[in-house]
């Protein structure tokens, strides 16, 4: 069990480090990853 614990613990730690680096969170409200282009550069009007 202790060996499995070691492996699982280190894996979890690695996933944690990556999640923190990537800014992942299970509980956060992520905005849409889909990028769209607003008509006209520097345009100040947003169309839904």
């Amino acid at each position: 069990m202790i060996k499995a614990n070691w492996i699982a613990g280190l894996l979890a730690l690695a996933v944690f480090v990556n999640a923190q680096y990537q800014g992942w969170s299970l509980f956060e409200h992520a905005a849409s990853a889909q990028a769209s282009r607003v008509a006209g550069s520097g345009g100040r009007i947003f169309h839904k």
């Binding site: 202790i2 613990g9 923190q20 969170s25 990853a33 520097g42």
Partner: protein, 622 residues
């Protein structure tokens, strides 16, 4: 020299030393020759003081015979070296100021206070000094009767000798044979001075069935015949039938008598086997005890119960524990009462250092601190303690070179070490190591890769416009943001607002959309305040490239409350989240929780066998 009486080795006359003259006081009874290794002329060392054995007396009591060797130290002081039941005790006479209790008032386990020290009565015996040898400080003549009481306190041994008034007091210590560094001992097979030839193991025939039997030690007082079950008393060169064919059922010891094995670096021989049992709630619980012998170490026991083995030895300094005491500490270890009961001898075979009788009973208390168990056995004349250590069956088989599989272990024994306890400790240690590493990583993200507030702006969401669009100030991302947190902290009360937040890169027009619903209601209902929802909401944009950005916020405000809402807009670059850290700790904690549960399940099985229903402390360090 303090000795005033000398017993002639050849004619057994007792001579009184009076200055340079010797006066013959008459002949003394013959010594009952035994197989003690000590003899007149033996030398040894006790507490770095050399001594010489100059005399001895022999005493007989109902359970057999013991020797008291008179020893003379280099500084001309004398003492006694008692040799009984495989135990050696060096003691010297002392004067005490406290009055001594009468012999008749003493009981086993009774506490006696002498000169500020408390002793416990461990043995009461009415003996007869039957013979003497060598130089002695008193006259033995034809013998005399004596009541003696042995008491123990801490590591001290006290003997009250009621042969005189007031009683004589001897104080000493139990000592290991090897610690005495004895020299000039009797050599096995070599005739002792004036005595019969000595052998390591004396052979004789059962007086009832003529089966060949052996005696290995001077301390052996009885032999149970394997052939017919008779119990034979051993007094001297002769043997006496004590109980004829006393045992109808014959039991075969799993470990044969005569087996040799090395345990704790000492070579032991199995010389006796007995079955004992205790009854609890109508159920009989039998176990086996094997008596082990080593010439220098004396006696030890191997105890087997349902496949569980213990190696036990008598304690020379028993703990001061009253009857029924639930727990006590000894050498920093806590022992807990596990079982109490009455043990009865049901079967014996082989040699024993007391007059063993089938049917003899004693009260037993077992205290456990795995892998140790301290047991107290009390009769009306004796109170003794032994310390047992759990022995793995494989270790026993290796020690006695036994190929056959040992009896299968059933259940969890009282002092069986919990194999899951050490594993649990290791799992806990690993948890703390990983938790520390996770904390270091979390702090590094919080401080070294610090989050940065790139925008903070107050916006007013007006109820006059039920749908409106606001644009934030611009902010710059110099490099790619792994995450960009947009937080709306509103003054919303009893209302809701729907927010569509679009992150727009000014130059390229790239945009990212996020929709949020903020709702916050609160009030007091029947005197109790309540609240629902939250006035603030967060949203994260992932992997945002560098550039100049602004936010376009389109909102729809509810009509439940007519007040304008102030929205404090914050944009944080690379925020450090704590939820991952907490999740990791929860995940890591699963392992010690599971191992703790398994460890406690083992302990629950152990204590389910106890009729006292004790248990482990939950406060055990994890």
């Amino acid at each position: 020299m303090t000795s005033i009486y000398v017993v002639c080795e050849f004619c057994r006359s007792t001579l009184l030393r009076s200055g340079e003259d010797l006066q013959n006081l008459g002949r003394m009874a013959e010594l009952l020759e035994d197989r003690s290794l000590i003899q007149i002329g033996s030398k040894g060392c006790y507490r770095n003081r050399h001594f010489l054995v100059i005399g001895r007396i022999q005493l007989r009591y109902e359970a057999g015979i013991w020797n008291e060797w008179h020893i003379l130290f280099d500084d001309a002081r004398t003492a006694w070296l008692a040799e009984a039941g495989g135990e050696l005790v060096v003691s010297a006479q002392v004067a005490v100021s406290d009055p001594l209790p009468a012999f008749e008032t003493l009981q086993p386990e009774m506490s006696v206070s002498l000169d500020g020290r408390v002793f416990t009565v461990t043995n009461l015996a009415t003996a007869r000094c039957i013979s003497g040898q060598g130089e002695l400080p008193f006259r033995v003549a034809a013998g005399y009767d004596v009541n003696t009481a042995d008491l123990r306190g801490n590591d001290r041994f006290l003997t009250l000798d009621y042969s005189e008034t007031p009683p004589l007091v001897f104080v000493g210590q139990a000592v290991a044979f090897s610690d005495l560094k004895l020299e000039k001992l009797k050599e096995l097979g070599v005739p002792a001075a004036g005595g019969a030839p000595q052998v390591g193991a004396r052979a004789f025939n059962c007086p009832h069935c003529a089966a060949p039997l052996k005696i290995h030690s001077a301390a052996i007082e009885s032999v149970a015949c394997d052939g017919c079950g008779s119990i034979i008393g051993v007094e001297n060169e002769n043997v006496k039938l004590l109980a004829r064919a006393a045992q109808a059922l014959r039991e075969v010891p799993w470990l044969p008598l005569g087996s040799h094995g090395t345990l704790h670096g000492i070579d032991w021989e199995v010389i006796g086997f007995m079955r004992r049992s205790t009854t609890s709630e109508g159920t009989q619980y039998p176990w086996s005890e094997y008596l082990l012998f080593n010439v220098q170490q004396g006696f030890a026991w191997l105890i087997e119960y349902q496949g569980h083995w213990n190696f036990a030895r008598t304690l020379s300094s028993p703990p001061p524990v009253s009857r029924g005491q639930a727990k006590f500490k000894r050498d920093g270890q806590e022992f807990k009462l596990f079982n109490t009961g009455k043990a009865e001898v049901t079967y014996v075979v082989g040699e024993f250092y007391w007059r063993v009788v089938v049917g003899e009973t004693c009260a037993v208390d077992d205290y456990v601190c795995p892998p140790l168990m301290l047991s107290r056995e009390v009769t009306d004349k004796e109170a003794g303690w032994s310390q047992a250590e759990y022995l793995e069956p494989a270790e026993l088989c290796a020690a006695f070179r036994i190929q056959a599989p040992p009896p299968k272990r059933i259940g969890v024994y009282a002092n069986q070490p919990n194999p899951l306890a050490e594993r649990h400790r290791r799992v806990c240690r690993l948890f703390w190591q990983l938790a520390l590493a996770a904390t270091v990583v979390q702090l590094a993200f919080a401080f070294l890769f610090a989050s940065q507030l790139v925008l903070r702006q107050r916006l007013v969401l007006s109820p006059l416009n039920d749908e409106a669009t606001l644009t934030s100030q611009e902010f710059v991302l110099n490099s790619r943001a792994r995450a960009l947190l947009v937080r709306h902290g509103t003054s919303l009360v009893n209302n809701w607002v729907s927010l569509s937040t679009t992150l727009v890169e000014k130059t390229t027009g790239e945009s990212y959309l996020g929709v949020q619903e903020v709702s916050h209601y609160k009030g007091i209902d029947e005197g109790e305040s309540w609240s629902e929802g939250s006035p603030s909401e967060e949203m994260v944009f992932k992997a945002v490239p560098p550039g100049n950005y602004y936010l376009v916020i389109e909102y729809e405000l509810g009509t439940d409350n007519a007040e304008a809402v102030v929205d404090t807009l914050e944009v944080v670059r690379n925020p450090t989240g704590w939820s991952n850290f907490l999740l990791l700790l929860i995940f890591l904690a699963v392992f010690p929780l599971v191992s703790r549960w398994r460890r406690n399940a083992f302990e629950a099985r152990r204590w389910s066998e106890s009729d006292l229903g004790g248990g482990q402390d939950d406060g055990e360090a994890d």
